[in-house]
Assembly symmetry: C2
Homo-oligomer: 454 residues x 2
Amino acid sequence: MQKTRNKYKNIHQWTPFQLLLFYYIAAIALSTILLSLPVAHKPGIDIPFIDILFIAVSAISVTGLSTISIADSLSTTGIIILALIMQLGAVGIMATGTMLWIMLGKRIGFRERNMIMTDQNQTHFDGMVRLIKNIVYVLLVIEAVFFIIIGLYFMKYYSSAGEALLHGFFFVISSISNGGFDITGQSLIPFQSDYFVQFMCMVLIIIGAIGYPVIIEVKEYLFHKRKIKNQFHFSLFTKLTTTTFFCLILVGAVGIFLFDIHGFFKDVSWHESFFYALFQSVTTRSGGLATMDLNLLSDTNHLFMSALMFIGASPSSAGGGIRTTTFALVLIFLFTFIRGGRSVKIFHREIYEVDLNKAVTVTFFAIIVVFSSIIILTLLEPVSLDAVIFEVTSAFGTVGLSLGITDELSAVSKIILMILMFIGRVGILTFLMIFKRKKDPAKFNYPKERIIIG
Amino acid sequence: MQKTRNKYKNIHQWTPFQLLLFYYIAAIALSTILLSLPVAHKPGIDIPFIDILFIAVSAISVTGLSTISIADSLSTTGIIILALIMQLGAVGIMATGTMLWIMLGKRIGFRERNMIMTDQNQTHFDGMVRLIKNIVYVLLVIEAVFFIIIGLYFMKYYSSAGEALLHGFFFVISSISNGGFDITGQSLIPFQSDYFVQFMCMVLIIIGAIGYPVIIEVKEYLFHKRKIKNQFHFSLFTKLTTTTFFCLILVGAVGIFLFDIHGFFKDVSWHESFFYALFQSVTTRSGGLATMDLNLLSDTNHLFMSALMFIGASPSSAGGGIRTTTFALVLIFLFTFIRGGRSVKIFHREIYEVDLNKAVTVTFFAIIVVFSSIIILTLLEPVSLDAVIFEVTSAFGTVGLSLGITDELSAVSKIILMILMFIGRVGILTFLMIFKRKKDPAKFNYPKERIIIG
Ligand SMILES: [K+]
Ligand SMILES: [K+]
């Protein structure tokens, strides 16, 4: 760890953390200025500064929580600005996430020759530019395809072609960036019987949340020459994160259905239940759009979905939370240790101890941050405990689902949510780099002594 | 780990876990039979079997949760039986806890010559008997002293000497065993203005919850010959657990006060506030008696106290939860790792990695168990979320505080609470021994591969 850090300290002027912090502060400042422009608001609408700042942080962190109604407050120009901010947020996090990984000297798993940084002698700045170009290119191609389909399909919902295209444009960007904002005024509830729209939305959310390195590997696999396809190996990272990702969606959908089988789903047909449960499960990965009023679900489901949102999406994706890999490593660690094993193995690979330590650190730190935020919000807000837990985990997971309390919150609570969105977005590990000691810790050792546990 | 287990497998007929399991099942069966005797009930009172079983589990695990009112249901004989069950529970857990520690071949820190097992050639059974004798002796001496003081003092509260002595007897055993049952019908609320009774109760709870090895070390320190007193060293275990224990009490009292400074404590005098906050903090370590109706505190405080109860008492004490040492090691681990250190140090000693792994495993497993229980109880019970969280952590921490929902619970929820009290009592690590593989895990290694975390 120490060695790696010293290495990139020599070859860089700024640390990855400073890079990220600079990018975020600049992006948030720019977004706040853009959203403050009168042309971004509907005529006669005046939005308080804290709410503009909140939307800017929410959009840059692609969370989607909002203290005001976007549909009622922003003009068409404002809506387009908001879409572009989400796009910027998604590209930013995918780029910085993937870049940090490469800068730390690890290979993502796809072949070196196809890697963004093929030449080790090139500067990191060039690599960064190429990476961003690559991400923007991939995103734009996917977005263009979906925009054409959805835009045309939306003609049946909206009176003018312009309106249909605007809604289609915003829908595609809000879904793939996992931004989760809506301009319908009620999320995807107007499409709660339209399984095609829901399906497209789920595909886009998954593309945004599954992690950029996974997309690159899948892309390489698909465009591989047929004859060497058998030699192609997905990286351990891709296998682990993808398995965890889809397991979470499956467990989430089954859980959401079972926890309200005698409640919300009692009088709902099987295919409606299927889509309600599946969509709400997918959206907790970090999407943030919803096809129903979540207040209709039970407290049990609110807690369950809070846990899913806390876990969040894959690393280097548009999603937040502790991340799927962290969750998976903690579970594997737990299972291994309980069974008496000493080294942690998965997919015929052994996990580095330093990665296990990281996963444990991230999870505990996240629990402390989330629990403290819940304590403070219960102190400040006269709302139910499950609504607070839901709101806090939603912000930390940069999911953006809410039981409808966001607009009632006090300024302090809004600031806490902004901090949570920021931490959830940059990731606990990157966030913790602030506290790292500059110098190597003392090299001397104390005698060891045993401790009674539990 | 493997080596140690094989070692004591050779010298023992049964594993520590089988010993514990046998002890608990036998103790619970015996307690259930004794409490089922008609002579234990008030005339005309018929207690359902599940409630007798619940009280038996609650008393053996010295939790104190009860689905019925002890004062209204048990006769004087029943009350004395209940007190003896709590005493049995407290001695049992201190003995098995300390014994496991010794059997695993670790020194507790007090000098070998004063240890329970001075001769390495003696059988473990002899050591166990001597240990139990020692614990009973220490407990009886402390109990006798406090019984005389409290019994005499209670004369001013009760009309007859017999009643005062019975209440004093039950009070002392319920406090020192951390049993937490009451025969007043409303915990220690009748003594909410009597600071002497509260002080005595806190001292007894602390003696019961601070861990038997600590008591032994303190005893040895006090009766040490003066001239070698300077050479006496407390063990790392004692330093760590005692520091954590009193820090938790301090943080707990300050937190409880601050989180209701505009609520419950608004019109309460400073000395009443001091005792209310301090007593309620001490009791969350695992005591379970309360000097106030906890429903008067805010949701924030309910959550805060739930966290305190989840942490629980010291290992090898009458208390439950993840234990103070586990909590301390996780915090130290987190702090060390965040600061970039590689080995975890405290009090000029280095912590074994296997102990850190244990602490992490215990904490994560406890979170999963507690969270799952909360999910199930919210599904079954039509009560508020904070009451469920409070009840579940109280059972797991074998604390016994409640927001008053215990008697309304369904049979399934009662069984879940019994399982939680059992796990909380024997400790997660001992409980997990069931899942340990019999054979050594495979010795071969897979190649290592890095994973993106967070
Ligand atoms: K989102
Ligand atoms: K108790």
